[in-house]
């Protein structure tokens, strides 16, 4: 019997390999996008495989911290390295003169709140900055109150509350003065629209005073 293969008709698709000993993956499509991810991912999804406390076999994956030795605490306070802090760090704004808690005498040594009359003569910039000075002072007081909760010294709360009350009074009076000024400005603007001395167009001087010649009226 001859082993010659019969001639295939041209309509049939030619095979990649006719040799039966070489096994090849025959994809259904030859487009490159679909060629990706054809290789089977073989991953050991069981991280506890082979672990045995009885046989002293630990996990395969070593923790990152195991490459470093355990730190040894320095028991002698004199041998410890000094922690360097920035003298001008912004967080020092939450403390008064870098101290943890003030004594009641220090906390009581404050003045009185600003009055509305004293605030009325101040400019917007001054009032704005004074407001934020009050906010910072209240932040310091709040930090001290938190420290007092932690340490529980048993005193100092009364003076702290008194101090905060004065700061709050100042803040309230700042708001009061500013609202007063705004209402007055609104009214003034309405009046200025009919005032001949005021020029609201935005071009040229806003205030054009009209000087009255009073001595002419005394003429006969």
């Amino acid at each position: 019997m001859s082993l010659a293969r019969p001639l295939r008709p041209l309509l049939q698709r030619p095979a990649i390999s006719t040799c039966p000993t070489i096994a090849r993956i025959r994809p259904l499509s030859t487009s490159p996008l679909l060629q990706e991810h054809t290789k089977r991912i073989t991953k050991d999804r069981n991280p506890k495989r082979g672990m045995s406390p009885m046989r002293g076999v630990g996990p395969k994956q070593m923790l990152e911290t195991e490459q470093y030795d355990l730190p040894r605490p320095v028991l002698d306070p004199k041998a410890r390295t000094e922690v360097k802090t920035d003298e001008d760090h912004g967080l020092w704004g939450f403390f008064h003169e870098k101290k943890c808690l003030p004594t009641p005498e220090e906390d009581h040594a404050h003045g009185r709140a600003w009055t509305a009359a004293e605030l009325r003569i101040k400019s917007w910039d001054d009032l704005h900055r004074l407001w934020w000075a009050c906010v910072k002072e209240r932040n310091i007081i709040a930090t001290q109150q938190k420290e007092r909760e932690r340490l529980d010294p048993g005193y100092g709360e009364y003076e702290s509350e008194e101090r905060e009350a004065e700061v709050i009074k100042t803040q309230k009076r700042i708001r009061y003065v500013l609202t007063e000024r705004y209402y007055a400005w609104e009214e003034a603007r309405e009046i200025a629209e009919t005032d001949p001395e005021v020029n609201l167009s935005g071009v040229g001087q806003a205030y054009v005073p009209v000087y009255e010649e009073t001595f002419e009226q005394t003429k006969a």
Binding site: G111, R112, W114, T115, E118, E187, E190, I191, E197, P209
Partner: protein, 105 residues
């Protein structure tokens, strides 16, 4: 104080008569806390922030600012004094001061 009253009236019948708080009803009751809203709810249950309504705080440059929240106790509190028939909210007073102080610049 409110809390004590509720503690005393913990019986199911008594608490029913008190107004609801924000801590009651699992998701079925909303009560705001006077902070205002920062946007709008969408019809799909989401929330869109309106940045125009979001609070921003303008902190000024405090360099060289020496005023403190307190005034010395040695000074008597200054009281506001106004002429007869005038008060700080009057527009005419504001306008007159503006003319005198700002004036021709």
């Amino acid at each position: 104080m409110r809390a004590t009253l509720i503690n005393l009236a913990r019986a199911p019948s008594s608490i029913r008569r008190l107004p609801l708080t924000t801590k009651m009803v699992n998701g079925g009751f909303y009560k705001g806390n006077r902070t205002g809203t920062v946007g709008r709810h969408t019809k799909h249950g989401g929330f869109v922030i309106d940045w125009e309504r979001v609070r921003t705080y303008v902190v000024p440059d405090m360099k060289g600012f020496e005023l403190t929240p307190f005034v010395t106790n040695k000074m008597e509190p200054t009281l506001g004094r106004f002429p007869q028939g005038e008060h700080p909210i009057m527009g005419s007073v504001y306008l007159r001061k503006w003319k005198n102080e700002n004036g021709e610049s």
